[in-house]
């Protein structure tokens, strides 16, 4: 499509109702810039959003989009991409949408390796329902429904992805605009399922995993001794509970996406006015 696409073309005319300072602003800006930078335009892009604060992203972006039911954004994205290999598909959701109600779909979407991008806005809290523990909340994080903390270890989404055969695993921080955009861009360009967990702080309900906390503790893998093509290196980063990281954690450069594995490469929206050619062969099979 046209090459003069600007990232603001991906902005809708609806003003976000996210709290001032919400990490989701930065997450969304990076997504829009990455989409524009990779040569996409709103008419050939499909964004699928889940439920929660993060789920509102479909409303604030301008593209073909579906704002789905809670936890099922990945299956929707899978269907869009299989029917329309020509369309850029980006799925976005929160840590509750992706790792709680949608955790089962996450594992299988990773296994399928459909060529789409999955952005999880991880704020380690349920914001829209006003502050309950999320699957990535710390064990001792006190909330209205867990007064002494959830007393369960948080889900490690990167470990889940690696164990499920992921071909692209990354972590970014919404406030580091340049790096965030760069990482999303790399996920879009990856041939297969590009998974990016984004630290996207909730300024209203999470006073532990704050901007300051991430700024102070993040180690950028780009500046560390880290080989993203090595599963061993990836494993070390993912299982390191002492540090927070950003950057591409793992990338399988020989990734073969679903549509190539299965020969699904047609635009399925185009069909004839009657039965497809050769349909009578189907009847003959029943002789």
């Amino acid at each position: 499509m046209s090459s003069d696409i600007r990232f603001t073309d991906f902005k809708s005319d609806k003003q976000p109702t996210w709290c001032p300072g919400c990490g989701d602003f930065g997450t969304m800006n990076g997504m829009m810039k990455a989409l524009a930078e990779t040569g996409n335009d709103p008419d050939n892009t499909f964004v699928v959003a889940g439920i929660g604060c993060s789920g509102k992203i479909g409303t604030y972006m301008h593209s073909y989009a579906l704002h789905g039911v809670h936890g099922r954004a990945l299956p929707v994205g899978t269907g869009v991409k299989m029917a329309r290999p020509d369309i850029e598909v980006m799925v976005a959701g929160g840590d509750g949408d992706g790792y709680s109600i949608g955790a089962g779909h996450f594992v299988h979407a990773v296994r399928r390796n459909v060529d789409m991008t999955y952005v999880v806005m991880d704020n380690r809290i349920y914001g829209l329902t006003k502050g309950q523990a999320s699957p990535t909340s710390r064990e001792d994080f006190e909330t209205s429904t867990s007064p002494e903390g959830p007393k369960q270890p948080p889900v490690n989404p990167h470990a889940l992805a690696l164990a499920s055969g992921a071909t692209f695993i990354a972590q970014s921080f919404s406030s580091d605009a340049l790096r965030h955009q760069e990482i999303i861009q790399e996920a879009i360009e990856h041939d297969g399922f590009g998974f990016v967990n984004v630290y996207s702080p909730c300024v209203t309900f999470n006073d532990v995993d704050t901007y300051d906390y991430f700024r102070d503790s993040l180690v950028d893998l780009k500046e560390a001794d880290h080989d993203p093509t090595s599963r061993e290196d990836a494993k070390d980063v993912i299982l390191d509970n002492e540090k927070e990281h950003q950057g591409v954690i793992y990338k399988d450069e020989s990734s073969v996406p679903y549509h190539e594995q299965h020969g699904v490469d047609e635009d399925m929206s185009v069909i004839p006015d009657g039965a497809p050619e050769g349909a009578t062969d189907l009847v003959r099979e029943f002789y």
Partner: protein
């Protein structure tokens, strides 16, 4: 109707019962005979027993009956399970050398043919062919030319090499000769052949073929009895027509994948049974309110919960009509015959796209796993029409764009139908959502827009009522005083029951209804009838309730919910006694 012949093979699951039965059914079909098959996965006592039954005649057969003429029994239980269908002179073929069959007792009035199936199979090349030896024996009993069996064996085994085909033919002849040589008995059967060409298929296969014919390109599903055959059928076939099948991780995923493909502009479908519909209901409201065309096939089985998974029931009608929170427009189509499974699938795709809503296409277990013969012209692909409804492209999209420049996928129109733009259409970018929305698909809680969108969605149903033909199929005596109404797979048994009733001097008029919502207005028919009986396979009379609701008059009900389909003779007796009771009252 010409004389019919009823045959079965039964044994333990794993004895190759299905495959053996199918070969015999195919041999009959290829010989120009009509065939109607059924399967017993019965577990009246304990699991394990399974049988494949074949009813055949030179005339059309569309029901099972309570009569078994020839039974191949691989286990003693096969005989026990079928005692009520076996009759004086029935032939039971068994292998007396098999340990479990050595002491088997054949009822006095029946004819037991002890054929060493395994030994004869071994001589022909392998014990595995013992069932084919039995088929050969059955051909001799039924005076059915064995060349027809050869043809079915070739179809079944040709991919595995000529040697295997030849061995099987030899095994069949060994069974045939054994009966001819050892039993000097005149059997009463003579299965004549005709020059007619027939195809043999079940309801699930008809649905799958209908989907491909209608241009369905994307199928996502999760295996569940008795809907799995739809998925199995499509796998390896839909790809030849540019489509794809995905086995999803669960039904929640399956329907959302199908939804995604539909938003992408593909004709998409999923198929499941009641327990899967429970899960899919989560997404149902989103499909309807985002005005996404989708075909959801529900092949019903006995419920609730896990119920009786391999048994017949028509218990999900209310679930399909009312499932989901909020008020959600939908269509529910229920083909009544196997050939109609094909055509109603095509129609379901057209209705879904013309009216941009989810369409339930429901079959039931009896229809799904039953095979029946049809002339190939029944499925004339030239007759298939594809109507995609109001789809806009670059040249027409401006007519549906707001002043501020946004495409309006939920435009308020007189007929309720809005334009659709597929991804990739320039200037068509828009969001679809389960939130209440304005014409552009943007979230709104504006009271006027809320009412306008609800009314618009419901107006599509009114438009469809006016524009489409929702007529039921009618048969029997159109001037009869008494009316019988049914839906789903009961039609076949009912058609034969009408003949039986006719012979007994009882005329009835029958309406077989393939549309549950919208549905035909039967007020005039019910009001004109002296007595109206609604026949269905459930306990509560869910369709009868709908008829009463529409007509504001009580109807009589014939219900069956023991897990077994209606048989023609049984149904005739039930209807007769219900009409007589009505007359006395």
């Amino acid at each position: 109707m010409a004389a019919d012949f009823n045959w079965a093979v039964g044994g333990e699951a794993g004895d190759g019962i299905d495959s053996t039965g199918k070969i015999f059914a195919q041999a009959l079909s290829r010989a120009g005979r009509h065939v109607f098959t059924s399967k017993d996965f019965a577990s009246r006592i304990r699991g394990g027993y399974t049988a494949y039954k074949v009813r055949t005649s030179v005339d059309k057969v569309q029901s099972v009956v309570d009569r078994l003429d020839v039974l191949i029994a691989l286990t003693p239980r096969t005989i026990e399970e079928n005692l009520d269908e076996l009759h004086e002179g029935s032939v039971i073929i068994y292998d007396g050398e098999r340990t479990t069959m050595q002491d088997v007792e054949i009822p006095e009035e029946m004819i037991g043919l002890d054929v060493p199936l395994k030994s004869l199979a071994e001589e022909a090349g392998g014990a595995i062919m013992r069932n084919v030896v039995a088929l050969g024996a059955a051909c001799e009993v039924a005076e059915f030319p064995i060349e027809n069996l050869d043809s079915a064996l070739e179809k079944r085994f040709k991919d595995k090499g000529q040697k295997l085909v030849d061995n099987n033919k030899e095994a069949a002849r060994a069974g045939q000769s054994y009966v001819a040589d050892e039993y000097d008995h005149e059997f009463d059967y003579d299965l004549e052949t005709t020059d007619e060409d027939y195809v043999l298929l079940n309801g699930d296969e008809a649905i799958g073929m209908g989907a491909i014919a209608a241009g369905c390109r994307f199928y996502a599903g999760y295996p569940i009895t008795p809907a799995t055959d739809v998925m199995t059928y499509l796998t390896g076939r839909i790809e030849r027509y540019g489509g794809h099948v995905v086995q999803a991780e669960d039904e929640l995923s399956a329907i959302n994948m199908a939804l995604g493909a539909a938003r992408g502009g593909a004709r998409a479908m999923t198929a499941t049974s009641g327990p899967g519909i429970d899960l899919m209901t989560e997404t149902f409201g989103l499909i309807a309110t985002s005005e996404t065309p989708l075909v959801i096939c529900n092949v019903m089985r006995s419920g609730p919960s896990t119920g009786m998974p391999t048994k017949q029931e028509q218990g999900d009608l209310n679930q399909m009509l009312y499932g989901g929170h909020g008020e959600v427009p939908r269509f529910v189509l229920a083909p009544t015959t196997i050939d109609e499974c094909f055509w109603k699938t095509v129609e379901a795709f057209n209705l879904a796209e013309k009216y941009q809503l989810p369409v339930y296409l429901t079959a039931d277990l009896s229809m799904a796993v039953t095979e029946q013969t049809f002339s190939p012209e029944t499925f004339d692909m030239d007759e298939v029409e594809v109507d995609r409804g109001n789809v806009v492209d670059e040249t027409t999209i401006d007519d549906h764009t707001s002043e501020s420049g946004g495409f309006q996928p939920h435009e308020i129109t007189d007929d309720g139908i809005s334009p659709r733009a597929f991804p990739g259409t320039a200037d068509g970018a828009h969001m679809s959502t389960g939130l209440e929305h304005d014409e552009q698909g943007r979230r709104t809680e504006d009271t006027e827009m809320r009412v306008a969108q609800v009314d618009k969605r419901n107006r599509k149903v009114e438009t469809a009522r006016e524009r489409e033909d929702w007529s039921p199929r009618e048969f029997g005596d159109e001037d009869a005083d008494d009316l019988v109404i049914t839906w789903g797979s009961n039609e076949g048994a009912l058609a034969e029951a009408v003949e039986i009733l006719d012979d007994e001097g009882q005329d009835v008029r029958v309406l077989s209804v393939p549309y549950i919502f919208p549905r035909p207005d039967l007020s005039a028919d019910v009001e004109a009838a002296e007595t109206t009986v609604v026949v269905e396979c459930n306990e509560q009379g869910q369709f009868a309730d709908l008829v009463e609701h529409d007509v504001l008059e009580r109807v009589d009900r014939v219900n069956k919910y023991n897990g077994v389909r209606y048989k023609a003779d049984e149904l005739a007796a039930e209807i007769k006694s219900t009409l007589e009771a009505g007359a006395e009252a």
